[in-house]
Amino acid sequence: MFASIPSAIVLGVDGHPVTVEVHVGRGLPGLTIVGLPDASCREARDRVRAAVLASQATWPDLKITVNLAPSSTRKVGSGLDLAIAVGVLVASEQLELAQTAGIGFLGELGLDGTVRPITGIVPLVDAIDCTSVVVPVACATDAELVEGPTARSVRTLAELVSALRGAIPWPDHDRPSQGGSLESVLDLADVRGQPVVRAALEVAAAGAHHLLMVGPPGAGKTMVAERLPGLLPALDRSFAMEVSRIHSAAGRSLAGGLIRRPPLRAPHHTATMVALIGGGSDAMRPGEVSLAHGGVLFLDELSEFPPSVLDALRQPLEDGVVRVSRARFSASLPARFLLVAAMNPCPCGEAGRPGACRCPDGALARYHRRLSGPLLDRFDLRIDVMRPEVDELLGGRPGESSAEVAQRVARARDRAVLRSVRANADLRGPELERWAPLSDGAQDLLAGVLRAGRLSARGLDRVRRVALTMADLAEYDGPLGVEHVSTALQLRADVRLGAGVVA
């Protein structure tokens, strides 16, 4: 008359175990779900009944009470359907308790008894403390990525019941094809010419420096950004697992196995705050910044994003994590990403060229006021991307390939690891003094630039970090030279345009 079935729900990027308790007893026939179910969870009532009836089982005409424990947290989604159905069958003595011992159940039911895929299978399986877990067949590949419980996949409830009774062996379904494994990586060789852009991209990858590209439409900013993940080192096993959990929690299928390549996320500028940062519903879905964890977040048309959304980026940029708090629950969503942004220099598209830009001064000011200083300050690298010359597009030799550049990047990252940081961008004041000493020439150069008021104290640290990455890429030891510091200074072009301001 009573059954207790293990299952799980996902909140944020983490799974939380849920025990589905089912009691079948005398009373007015019907099914009640208690334990803070949300709407989609409460609808399980009707789905489960139809699915049980469609599976040649009997629906007990008794009072059925389902409790989702712990009853203080809100239960979201339809993933508990399968556990409820099994619970009803056990409590109505159509299945024996021993037959389900040590098995967790995850899956949504269709009215015809099919077991449908659900989102967040990786964190869900991870949360269940059982020897095996039953999952929908479409989720089997993802479930197997989790070390620990054995994943059993089923297509229908009827099949599950037969397998549990021992009438048939556990089915061994074909996996959905792993089309994603031959992930094509865009090659940097496609970028013709553009020496400054290539250099900036390499430095960004090697030192994890955030990059802002300023250039007119059609200059290839997106093309460049898409090639950045290919330069980053592949994710190691534990990091890959962390990234995969996030993507699974966000409802993306991991058809290609663990995510080993750093992801690229490019949300459109109409994205809402919740879409970008995460949160929203009770499930606390991870946002784009979390999906870019371990990879690249590309914001095209930066100045078109609502200022409030951009300002919300500052905390994850600083801490590598988003803390979303709601009345009942708060979640920490990992969000350590390399930010690459692109924007037009001015509304007229003349790139603010002195003497050619037709933008009235007011329009320019309004355009740039949308970007807050603190956000712009986070970009270690700011470069201009101009439209390439026609000759280069047609006849230019292909540049260095991603693989060659990635090797240099990997070596530079290794040098950063010796300084006990992930990448040079993480070096702060005293560490910078220690690891990035300046040669006399570089010292004089920076002193001159500082005295001329062209660089702030904070800017100085950024220039040093970038210069250190340059030296790392060149495998250069010793104090930073003039050429490293000069290049770092030039790769920090001021975004605020001089047009009309010079007088």
């Binding site: 050619a356 470069i383 009309g500 010079v502």
Partner: protein, 398 residues
């Protein structure tokens, strides 16, 4: 001006403030019926009583304009409004009365009155207007500054519109040099003609410059206090600028820039137009090259302007000497300056143009910047006027 009755003056200033009141209607009010009669008609709503106002009303397709004007007239007290100007030490000169500049008196579109912060003495000597685009190149600004400085040193008053870019550069060059050119007769002083009321500054970041110009020379406007940057007032301002000048020098302009309106006003008044030539590929030089093709006198330096003014005997005190071509430049530095001669370039374009590696070019650019030969505005590198050139820039004997 003291001869002009206070009550009439107050009425004239108040009329000038009315929305929709243009210079021509104001001038007719002044001479046909007198300001106080016109003011009574406007504030009582009987525009028909005064022919100038009646024809203004008849021209309006939208009758709400007339109502707006009448409502506005009822909302202010002319005497108190005049006092605001007086307490800010603004001089008001009226067409046909004492103190009004002779240069404007017989102008085809003479302003009925002018508000002056400072003194109009600079207009007694030669006046050159230096105008150009707001979005100027650094080289253009340097050229405007050098011209202003050298001309001022010869006692030529510099008139301009106090806009961003060329206008501001010309004036900043001569207000900065505090008392260097201060001579007793007021020559070599700045005169700014602005479109807003003198209690405003447009653009706002030129507020300080506006005060400096007022203290050294004059800031002039035909708009009374409270008038903001209205679109139609800028071309109207340009006509005063052109009428006040003996010559208009255009330093940089695109083909259809606001400076071209000043040029058109100057040509209508037989004021000489001079233009600084630039590189044909530079959009900033397109307008000035058009002018030169159409017969404007090309300007290389202040001497060309002085000759055009008939002051050829004067020699400017050259304030800044260009580095001689003898200065030895590293080959890379020289090729960067050569590449920049055709107009501003970005870092990537410079790497491309010189064919050298990014670190080398970066290092060279920093040292050129430090030496003051190159400047960076936003993404663009521009040469300064002080940059050494490959060729000696001599002048053949006359």
């Amino acid at each position: 001006m003291r001869d002009y009755p206070e009550e009439e003056l107050a009425a004239l200033v108040a009329l000038a403030w009315l929305p929709g009141m243009g210079p021509a209607t104001l001038l007719r009010c002044l001479h046909e019926v007198g300001p106080s009669t016109a003011w009574r008609a406007a504030s009582s709503g009987r525009l028909g009583d005064v022919e100038a106002l009646a024809s203004f009303a008849a021209r309006q397709r939208d009758s709400t304009w007339v109502q707006t004007m009448v409502d506005a007239a009822r909302s202010i007290d002319p005497a108190a409004y005049l006092d605001r100007h007086r307490s800010a030490a603004i001089t008001i000169v009226v067409h046909g009365q004492r103190g009004y500049p002779d240069r404007l008196l017989n102008d085809e579109a003479a302003p009925a009155l002018l508000f002056v912060d400072g003194t109009l003495d600079p207009l007694d000597g030669p006046v050159v207007a230096i105008v150009g685009t707001r979005n100027a190149t650094r080289l253009g600004c340097d050229t405007a500054a050098a011209l202003a400085r050298d001309l001022a040193s010869c006692g030529v008053a510099i008139a301009s519109g106090l806009a961003l870019g060329i206008d501001g550069a010309a004036h900043r060059a001569i207000v900065g040099e505090s008392d260097k050119f201060k001579s007793g007769d007021g020559s070599g002083r700045p005169v700014a003609v602005v479109a807003t009321g003198l209690d405003r500054a447009y653009p706002r970041r030129h507020a300080l410059l506006q005060r400096q110009v007022a203290s050294r020379g004059a800031v002039v406007s035909e708009s009374p206090f409270g008038i903001g940057p209205l679109r139609w007032r800028f071309p109207a301002r340009n006509r005063i600028l052109a009428a006040l000048a003996d010559a208009v020098v255009v330093v940089e302009s695109r083909s259809a820039g606001g400076s071209m309106l000043t040029v058109a006003e100057a040509l209508r008044r037989d004021v000489q137009v001079l233009a600084v030539p630039g590189h044909p590929t530079s959009p900033a030089a397109a307008g000035t090259l058009d002018l030169i093709c159409d017969g404007a006198i090309p300007v290389r330096d202040a001497e060309d302007v002085l000759v055009a003014l008939g002051l050829g005997g004067k020699r400017p005190v050259v304030t800044e000497s260009r580095a001689e071509s003898g200065d030895r430049l590293a080959p890379l530095h020289a090729s960067i300056l050569d590449a920049l001669a055709a107009g501003p370039l970005t870092l990537a374009q410079l790497v491309e143009a010189t064919g050298r590696a990014l670190p080398e070019v970066s290092t060279a650019l920093i040292s050129l910047e430090t030496a003051g030969h190159v400047t960076r505005s936003g993404s663009w590198f521009e040469p300064r006027a002080s940059a050494p050139r490959g060729r000696a820039r001599g002048r053949s004997a006359p």
